[in-house]
Assembly symmetry: C2
């Protein structure tokens, strides 16, 4: 597996170990990690700290020129909020671990010129599948269902 998706998956597993929702993300600029994060709904009582948002927040305040050369990695297809953050900051490329368990706003991203790559990685799929089976309540809350 790609080293950055591997690191995003490690973030997801860290979230699970904390009792949280196992989704991880990285923001990478020209091969260097700017920020990494994982879903913190449970850990911080947050409704906005999805993995991608946490990674962006941890990267800190960046000029537009940096975002425009960055890649966002996420273990799960991004929801409307996270896709919107990608569009806001003009991140040109998104690498997605899987979309079997949740199909986010890939088409919206593509329609706005974002390059979307889907790995359909078996480890990402299995981790999320098991979590959804165990905690459908938490998962539904996280996607507003």
């Amino acid at each position: 597996m790609d080293e950055f998706m591997q690191a995003a998956l490690e973030e997801a597993r860290k979230g699970l170990a904390e009792g949280g929702i196992p989704i991880g993300s990285l923001v990478v600029h020209r091969g260097a990690v700017l920020g990494r994060g994982h879903n913190r709904r449970v850990q911080k009582g947050s409704v906005i700290l999805h993995a991608e948002m946490d990674a962006l927040e941890n990267a800190g305040r960046m000029p537009a020129a940096i975002y425009r050369e960055s890649v966002l990695y996420t273990t799960l297809s991004p929801c409307p909020m996270c896709a919107g953050a990608i569009l806001l900051y003009g991140i040109p490329r998104v690498v997605i671990g899987e979309n079997r368990n949740f199909r986010g706003e890939e088409e919206l991203l593509r329609s706005r010129g974002v390059q979307v790559e889907l790995l359909q990685d078996e480890e990402c799929i299995a981790l999320m599948r098991q979590f959804i089976d165990n905690r459908p309540d938490l998962w539904n809350e996280d996607i507003g269902v």
Copy 2:
């Protein structure tokens, strides 16, 4: 002015007094304020705490049924990230103070069935106009330009 937009404008002014970007927001459920907030980019060094996100975060973890009966008030037209959060949580109605200074994702929201109301309020317009004139650098950073 509508009492909730008035309260959102007060949030915006509070942000300005803190040295921040003057945008305010409220989440209202059946006439009761669930959460209020303002942009905290400067105050918290945050790239995700736009006013709408701050209001949603301050409202806390809510079941989908609550969001589905809520209204989001914001002094400025919502950017892609904030519009995405509105779509994620299925908030059915958004009241916008103005879109003269920034035209966000109103069409995307409408295309997904969200009721969007635009007040084009002179106080909201003047507050934001003055801020953008004074701090174009901060404003551009906030919208990824």
